[in-house]
Symmetry: C2
Subunit: 212 residues, 2 copies
């Protein structure tokens, strides 16, 4: 009987702890999201915790309550960013019923991303570069890279499928190609080059039939 009570008490306590953990985690994500704003604006090198706090509704102390240190915060940011990013094109893949539809959907999304989410994406490239110096970032960054590669592969596979074919290159090569093109277009776009986006679209439109 004592054991049962203990068991029940344990269950209640566990449930409470789970709840607390969830709340704690939700807060962490709120904070990470706020941090992403400033990180996207200033980049990793120029972003301090105080700056993050000032551009948000939180005080700088809260960040230390929820994160063990700055790296911990930024790792959380990276992980959270991943979840948003990795499914960006999946709807297009799911709803397209033809090659053309898939192409146009993909291109439209590509243009919109470049136009509206330039800051988040430059942060991604920044952090991926940071991972080359800071080992703490590597695991998450490599994981995200894999997910993005898989995302591109899903698009390419579907595209090839519509033509009754198979993609002509490996997932790694396809991802390298599109990521490289996107990165270059992003830099030009940020530098004020109005032709960056249309040129990227042209290039991708030309490329798709040749690689898939």
């Amino acid at each position: 009987m004592a054991r049962q009570v203990t068991g029940a008490a344990r269950r209640v306590a566990d449930a409470a702890e789970v709840l607390r953990d969830e709340k704690f985690n939700a807060r962490r994500i709120e904070l990470a999201e706020a941090a992403l704003e400033t990180l996207g604006e200033l980049g990793f090198a120029r972003t301090s915790l105080r700056e993050i706090a000032q551009n948000s509704a939180f005080t700088h102390g809260v960040f230390h309550y929820y994160f063990s240190d700055k790296l911990d915060l930024i790792c959380c940011c990276v992980r959270h960013y991943k979840a948003k990013c990795v499914t960006r094109y999946d709807e297009v893949v799911a709803t397209a019923t033809s090659r053309d539809e898939l192409t146009e959907g993909f291109l439209a999304k590509l243009a919109a991303t470049l136009q509206n989410e330039a800051r988040m994406h430059r942060l991604w490239y920044d952090l991926r570069s940071q991972a080359m110096f800071e080992a703490a970032f590597r695991k998450d960054v490599l994981e995200i890279d894999k997910s993005l590669e898989a995302m591109i592969w899903r698009i390419a596979s579907r595209y090839a499928e519509f033509g009754g074919k198979r993609p002509a290159s490996s997932p790694a090569a396809l991802y390298a190609l599109f990521d490289g093109l996107f990165q270059s277009a992003l830099l030009k776009h940020l530098a004020g080059d109005k032709t960056a986006i249309p040129e990227l679209l042209d290039e991708v439109r030309r490329l798709l039939p040749t690689v898939c």
Copy 2:
């Protein structure tokens, strides 16, 4: 006569100034080279002028004598880096007498670069990302990117030439592809992945005949 003397004096003065300028510039490059050491080790975000000075034979004051500020120094580093980088594969292109020779020369250089100059290359990716935030870097970075694209294009053109063909894609797409692959391999290599280099070589070996 007075005019002649003035003219001669002017010429002498000019010559002296040119000499001083050259010496000044040579010193700047020495300092930039020293700075590149630390930058390659720590990355842009974690590198301070004092750290640079401590890892070199110079005191931190000298850097402020030769550079107006930190950005000026790093811009000079980037420009200097460019000169070294952009001709890396030209000897291979010049001396190869067949497809195979070009392929093997290119792959060997690729592997050696990844192995021995990982630090300089991660710095390049770092600074290219910084250019997405810091306008002061953009001009130089875009220029270097163009030069690298041209370098890849020379390789691909020569390769295609050996086969009596023309490259199948645009310079931009080819550069994006190889740069993307290299970047990914570099990250994996730095993360301790022993298969990164051989996998890159395999991929490139497979890719070359299909794109050129």
